[in-house]
Symmetry: D2
Subunit: 154 residues, 4 copies
């Protein structure tokens, strides 16, 4: 798997995740080829990402009805390594790769119940104003929280 640009040493990369969120594959997520449809990887990434932010206690009020800031995806990518099927118990692991002024770059890894890596991915989230769409810097407390959860691979 050396050909994935966002992954250096695969073994180190794999072992550097400290958070994972469990998901059981729904039947409605499969397609006529019998496996999980490719688009669902990004549903799992979003599910993992939001629960990761909740887990580390990120306090920006993104999901409150009156919140003025929202997180948007700047980019996303997924490498498909192994098919995933209905009813499999998978784990979506998430970690911080880089912290920007208004953004955070996250890495993702989906593993199956025997620990095989099925999908890897990454993507940048940017915090923007709900009203104007303009990128908005992290609050001091959010930045500290992100930094406290940013672990070096080495």
């Amino acid at each position: 798997m050396a050909n994935i640009l966002y992954i250096g040493d695969f073994s180190k990369w794999k072992n550097s995740f400290k958070y994972s969120y469990p998901i059981t594959v729904r039947f409605s997520e499969t397609d006529a080829f019998g496996h999980v449809n490719n688009t669902i990887a990004f549903v799992y990434f979003e599910e993992g990402r939001i629960n990761y932010f909740k887990d580390i206690g990120l306090s920006e009020e993104w999901f409150s009805k009156k919140g003025k800031l929202i997180p948007v995806t700047a980019d996303l990518q997924c490498d498909y390594k192994k098919q995933v099927y209905f009813d499999e118990n998978i784990e979506v692991s998430v970690k911080i790769n880089m912290i920007g002024k208004t953004s955070v770059d996250l890495h993702y890894m989906i593993t199956n119940s025997v620990g095989e890596v099925c999908m890897t991915g990454r993507g940048k989230m940017v915090q923007v104003s709900r009203a104007t769409g303009v990128a908005t810097p992290w609050s001091e407390s959010s930045r500290k929280l992100l930094e406290a959860n940013h672990f070096s691979i080495d």
Copy 2:
């Protein structure tokens, strides 16, 4: 098909639709049984319903960002008559069954490219306040529009 409570004479019922919206089945809408997943029928109903309202010129500003009223589903049902597959060209027909003070009861019919009925359905939409969720009467102009598009089966 006499056993569907919301349909009297099936032939008359089928012929009384005056509006239909074309949809081509997406691959991501199929499931591992090879056909369209049952949940997608309601995606098609919503797609047909919204385009029907647009077609008749319903002027309530439901989908404007600052609109104070929104339509919500009070109930929905679907009878599955024939499997639908990837890449089929289907039509979602929609008609008004009954008009209430704050609601409208719609009937749905999905047919395939050779005119076979694949799914039938119905459901009541209610207009509510976005802020409070309270049911809100149709404006005079909307009621007139709905009535002008409410055709008797006989």
Copy 3:
């Protein structure tokens, strides 16, 4: 809620469910009105239904790749009682209402974390041949299993 045809005494009906499956609402399941999109109710019903069948030990090999029989939805309906929002912890309760020769009629109830009923529903599943689509009777063991899990409301 007396006006829902498939529910007699609501309190008795509500209390007669013995199985429920927990789900946390995903952000991708919401829509621009801020709540869960109406079509997702049926995703939750399918999720609850499949896990219910697994829970009672139904042995038909519906989801095996080489299984000759599959379950299909004959009809489905949902009554929306209360809006559901992102990140809510809900429960999908499922029970058997009636057992047919080739089918089973299921009732559904979705409750939120404070026990309020948000959605109710029902629908008939039919066991059919994967190859021909013809309705196929329950095996003796499956019928016994269904009957053993069919509890009278009274």
Copy 4:
């Protein structure tokens, strides 16, 4: 947009697409932030990709029930440039970037009704055996077809 690795000269890149597929944004594709959910970009890419293959006449029997070969996604990525909203008429443009022995690398561009680029993307599809998952070379006729539709940017 110089920072997107798969795009060289953006203007040349944009103008080199010869195929596009029209899509109208569904309400069920939006999320509680009011715009199209990030995961839907990949639904649009799949919709564009499949229709592109159909358009150029690719003859592999991927979607036939008895077809022995299927296309799977090796990787996918999307860069989000501009929010997309309910009811927008968008175009998904697709083109061949590179042809491999068993795979094809595609580029994607989603534009809105005034021609603004909302999303760009790329991804590799691999043709595999449905039974074994092993990558399988293009037939001679498919390769010729792909090559005939592979246009240089310059």
